[in-house]
Amino acid sequence: MKKFFIIAIYFFTFVSFICAKNERADLNTSVISETLSKDANAIIRNNEIFFEYISPERGILTEKMEITILNEKGKEHGNFSYPGDKYRTLSDFSGAVYDSQGNLIRKLKKSEIVSSEWSQYLASGDVHYFMNIDPVMYPYTVVYEYAVEYKNGILTFPAFAPQSSPDIAVIKSKYELRVPENTEIDIKVFNAEKLQKAKNEKSIDFYIAEINNRAAIQEETLMPDQSNYIPLILARPVKFIYDKVPGQITDWNSLGSWQYNLWKDRDLLDEPTKQKIKDLTAGTTSDREKIKILYDYLGENTHYQNISLGIGGYQPMLASEVCRIGFGDCKGLTNYLHAMLKVIGIKSNITTIKSSESSKSIFTDYANFTQLNHVILQVPLPDDTLWLESTNTEIPFGFVHNEIAGHHALVLSEKESKICTLPDYPDSLSIDKNVSNISVSADGKATGKTTNFSFAKVYDDFCYIAKEKYSDQLDKMRSMIKLPNADVFGISMKETKSSLPCLAVDMSWNSSMYGTKTGTRLFLPANPLRSGEYNLKKKERKFDIEILDGFRDVDSLHLTIPENFVVEAMPAPVNIKSPFGDFSSSIVAKENNLLIVQNLNISRGYWKASVYPDLLAFFEKVNSTYKGKIIIKPKE
């Protein structure tokens, strides 16, 4: 009888966990506070993440989610999605959808889950699980619970990041990590309280964290990186086994050392290849020139493709194999370049780096595998250090490209891996410059010649145009002229691929109506090549301001107006300075020749939200000056 009773308890507890109730009065949406749901498109009512770490080769994740979708924009947050792979498989799933009163609309079954191996790479081992839930009426609540089995390769514990999108508010979200007693783990907490540690009788250590009542975040232009305000907990075991390779990582040095060992002795090339490399570089005694020859050789004979299966995600393909098949990913291609340099006695170091457009730094006090996502090659020379990108040798030799310049990197070594920062370019070097000669006739028609120069970072963003089809180049240059009627009919490009690269584009153009004509007057644009920067909102600012990279927009236009015309009105000179940069505009008229010079300099930096009104005022003046008009009319 007792046995039956115990089984019955188990059964009912189990069933109540898995079976959806017909009514969940607690999910009624009218109880959600206004302040919390303001700005939110979805709100997490309750979220619990449990990770049970049993051994380096076994773990179980269970997550329970109850999320209310408030409107159409939040629809995607109601969908279930889990990125698995060959070491992590979805083992259980159940769920339900409730209406705004908490009445059951329908149940969600494991059989409805779609799994896909789709990947943009050649082969990846990814298995993506998802289920899309169609909304009936807003608001509605999606509830689900699922379990994932981790088998092998537990390099990091599941992260705690309940506010996965800024438009999600959180009422309650709990994180619990269970590890065998005294397991060493490394934790970092952002924008949340520290984890509480507890022990229990069964020799298990518990780490618990909880966040409550977090409002959604309204995104603002030029916000700092999200690690500044989104709650996040990263945790990982210090000792692990990945695809049969054990490791123990306490800091960046030990992580570098582990990776270094995966790369060791994989850089051997066969004799004919070695001879070829020696032959290719025989014509010069300069090390720098030899490196450039091999850098170009790499680009001409290989292409990028990614095969990351198992340890192949961290260990490079053998250099001899990359040489043989002619393709590889960033690890394989870097390994091959490193091997080639080794043949001619040039030492180079494998460097892992964070390649990202939104942030340059990593957490120097917290080492893990997710922060560094790319591999490049450091080549220290007596006067200089080269940082070579093996996946794209079109990048000018010696130029550090935008996705890595100024970024944190880990140079791998057997015992002394160090975090360093790559060189960056001062804002004053990233120039976008226009030099124009324009001639307007009395009927409003104009002909012009413009040369556009892009330097350094501006070059890196724009150089793609040199490889486009001619008709696409024409279209792109035409879009730079902000006139309703204009034709670009001749383009020539000159690319200087030095360590401070530049692209110069000459274009000849004309316009059947340069500006507008009213009666005898002509309203000419002061600068038809600029339309202003940044769409800044006039609201009160909450977040600090961060400009990652500054730049300079430099324009000089020689404008010739018809002989019998005179300037009636033109914009006054402007000279403004702000913490973010400065701007000047001057128009000088000498008979029928006008010289318009406008310079905008923006500096990188970080400022408190309180200076936002200054930022707004600065750009309002810049944008309206660019829109200025010069009015000319015939002499009386």
């Binding site: 700005d39 159409e72 924009k73 609309i105 329908r106 779609v114 896909s116 191996e117 789709w118 990947s119 050649l122 082969a123 169609d134 909304p135 009936v136 009426m137 680009g299 001409e300 004979n301 290989t302 292409h303 493709q305 095969i307 043989r324 098949i325 002619g326 393709f327 079109e394 490889k467 486009e468 089809k469 001619y470 008709s471 024409l474 279209d475 035409r478 879009s479 902000k482 006139l483 309703p484 009627n485 204009a486 034709d487 009919f489 059947s512 109506m513 507008t516 004509k517 009213t518 009666g519 005898t520 007057r521 309203f523 769409n535 006039k538 009636e568 009105a569 033109m570 008009k629 009015i631």
Partner: protein, 657 residues
């Protein structure tokens, strides 16, 4: 006239005779000219060119018919950017019934190194099979040792159990093709409708060939001999297809040959039509949709039937029914041709447009109206074939209703922001097919169902500081109203919507009143009070009287165009402003009135401006009357828009006395 007969062996040699240089169409044979080639002379900017693509489709029989396609392809990489063509993926379906498989895949890279031809093979362990979802798999591989100058050649064989479904043969890509040929041998048992698409000329040839199959029936095997039709399609120097703005669906213009099964006639059986007439399509639909059978069982909304018909307006009645049904079943963003289980949709509270439409038709019929499906292919799905009825190309249907007033009204379940004759533009196609026995005219043009218009009436007073205080009465009708309501609903909140409006027109709004924003309304009324700042320059104030501009810049900037120009819908944009100028100012200069037309009757732009006492009166009317224009009209369209854009930007000069 004596017919010129082409001997068979000439057909074999003819392709080689076309090229002055030495190119090989034989798999595994790479010539020096091919390896030395530095550019494709007809398009020197091409990063890669397909040297040949040769395909061959035929039927085999083993326990059932199967379709086999063999394809071989040779690509020349001309520039570094072209190396992306080294990545190949072959999609095949592996669902339980009628699955496909790909085999006999061979791929090689050829490079010229120190005068020698070096051949590299794609190895088996570098060929991957990805299960993309329950139905589709992708075979993925990349060629080794690819660089500028490499020749990549591969071939494979695809066998499919779907013998009634021959995929389209695409004959134009985003890189140029030097030579493409496709041969298809179809036994007389299968009758296909075949249609070519695209601007480039596809050479077609047909001939009859005999084929034999061994067919097992009731344990007995016997050989049948049949007459098969061999069609060969070929093209040389096919230019790359470039996407342009204002095109509903680029694939409508891509050179291709399309096949659709018309019917089958097997030995000792009757002819079994699939869909060779619209009556057949109708029959097939009836088998899969309960509303077409119009029985008591078809799902309808009871309360909607009880509306009062006598003495009230058709349009109102129809809309009331529509609104009730939309209230019960929310559209789930999906379109469908077949409406399985509309009852499920009512239970779930959400459904695709076909389910909502079927409930709508049944309910309208029960309420005494003649309602029927109008079959279409959405704009985004491509245009229906012209030469034959096609069920494969249909993507969905909308609802047509005949009012007692004799007018026809159209609706669709996906319309969240409009009632009658207002729906997403994707459904406003030129040809919809009506399934209704009472109608003799079966085709209907849905591109111009209602008068789409946007009217701005501004009354403003300008002061000597260049600040104008004004009121706006803004009216939108039909499609314009639809999209205004949609933008509003999709904005985060009304504050964001207003802010976007302010930024777009550079005004500051102090008061807003919106009317007619409910789903069914075809007329939206937006009343606003706002101010606008103008630049002062000494004694002058310069104002652009166009506060709410229609055309700020000319979107047609390309120098030439190959594809037609397809607009969303015909519309009228009307702008009227009365601006009172400050007391001690006079009008120094004013823009001139103008009348521009597009090709006489397809569009017009009228601009009138006059002084009346101390006010300026502006009246602007832009009318686009046609939706689709051939590419030969591009220059006229470019000029028309350019002139209109100029007028939208012209200034009035006021001078202090």
């Amino acid at each position: 006239m004596k017919r010129f007969i082409f001997p068979f062996f000439f057909l074999f040699f003819l392709p080689l005779v076309i090229f002055s240089q030495n190119f090989s169409l034989k798999f595994g044979s790479v010539t020096e000219d091919e390896l030395n080639m530095k550019a494709y002379e007809k398009d020197t900017s091409a990063a890669a060119v397909v040297l040949y693509d040769i395909g061959n489709t035929y039927y085999i029989y083993s326990s059932d018919f199967q379709v086999v396609t063999e394809n071989s392809r040779k690509i020349k990489i001309l520039k570094q950017e072209g190396t992306k063509y080294a990545d190949v993926e072959l999609i095949y379906s592996a669902s339980d019934n009628n699955s496909e498989y790909i085999n006999k895949l061979e791929a090689y890279t050829y490079n010229l190194e120190n005068g020698k031809i070096v051949k590299s093979k794609v190895e088996k362990n570098y060929i991957f099979d990805e299960k993309s979802n329950k139905t589709y798999h992708r075979i993925k591989f990349t060629f080794p040792n690819v660089k500028a100058g490499s020749i990549l050649e591969f071939k494979y064989k695809r066998t499919s159990g779907r013998y009634f479904d021959i995929p389209d043969k695409i004959m134009q890509e985003d890189i140029p093709i030097r030579y493409i040929s496709y041969e298809i041998l179809i036994p007389e048992y299968f009758i296909y409708n075949i249609e070519s698409r695209g601007y480039e000329n596809i050479k077609a040839k047909n001939e009859i060939q005999r084929q034999t199959f061994t067919i097992i029936s009731n344990v007995k095997g016997y050989t049948v001999s049949c007459s098969s039709n061999k069609s060969t399609y070929s093209m040389t120097d096919v230019p790359a297809l470039k996407d342009e703005a204002y095109v509903w669906n680029l694939d409508d213009y891509r050179s291709a040959v399309r096949f659709e099964l018309n019917g089958t006639k097997f030995p000792n059986s009757d002819y079994k039509p699939y869909t060779n007439t619209w009556a057949d399509i109708e029959k097939l639909l009836k088998e899969n949709s309960e509303f077409l059978t119009n029985t008591k069982k078809s799902t309808s909304l009871d309360e909607a039937i009880k509306i009062n018909k006598t003495g009230s307006n058709d349009k109102d009645n129809i809309q009331t029914i529509f609104s009730l049904i939309k209230g019960k079943v929310k559209w789930n963003n999906e379109y469908s041709l077949f409406e399985n289980e509309p009852r499920e949709a009512i239970k779930k509270g959400t459904g695709n447009n076909a389910q909502i439409n079927s409930i709508l038709i049944s309910t309208l019929m029960k309420a005494g109206y003649n309602a029927y499906p109008v079959l279409i292919s959405q704009r985004s799905s491509g245009k229906l074939p012209y030469s034959y009825p096609s069920i494969d190309r249909l993507s969905t249907f909308i609802v047509g209703v005949d009012g007692f007033d004799g007018k026809a009204y159209y609706l669709d379940g996906s319309s969240d922001y409009g009632g009658v004759n207002m729906m997403p533009v994707d459904l406003l196609v030129e040809r919809g097919y009506i399934i209704d026995d009472t109608k003799t005219e079966k085709w209907v043009d849905l591109t111009n169902l209602a008068n789409n218009r946007e009217i701005y009436i501004v009354t403003g007073k300008l002061d000597k500081d260049g600040v104008m205080k004004a009121t706006l009465n803004h009216y939108l009708s039909n499609e314009d109203a639809f999209y205004f309501k949609k933008d509003f609903k999709e904005s985060k909140d009304s504050a964001e919507f207003i802010e976007n409006f302010e930024t777009k027109h550079d005004i500051k709004i102090s008061n807003v009143n919106l009317k007619g924003m409910d789903m069914l309304s075809a007329d939206v009324e937006n009343t606003m009070e706002f101010t606008k700042n103008y630049e002062l320059a000494g004694d002058y104030i310069y104002i652009n009287p166009f506060i709410f501009r229609d055309i700020t810049s000319n979107p047609f900037t390309s120098s030439e165009r190959k594809l037609p120009i397809e607009f969303a819908y015909p519309y009228v944009y009307n702008y009227t402003a009365t601006i009172q100028i400050p007391e001690n100012y006079t009008i120094s200069e004013m823009p001139s009135a103008v009348r521009i037309v597009l090709n006489d009757k397809q569009g017009s732009c009228l601009y009138n401006i006059a002084q009346n006492g101390n006010s300026i009166l502006v009246n602007y009317r832009f009318n686009l009357k046609q939706t689709i224009f051939p590419h030969t009209d591009y220059t006229a369209i470019q000029g028309f828009w350019g002139q209109a854009a100029t007028k939208n930007n012209e200034m009035i000069v006021l001078r202090k006395n």
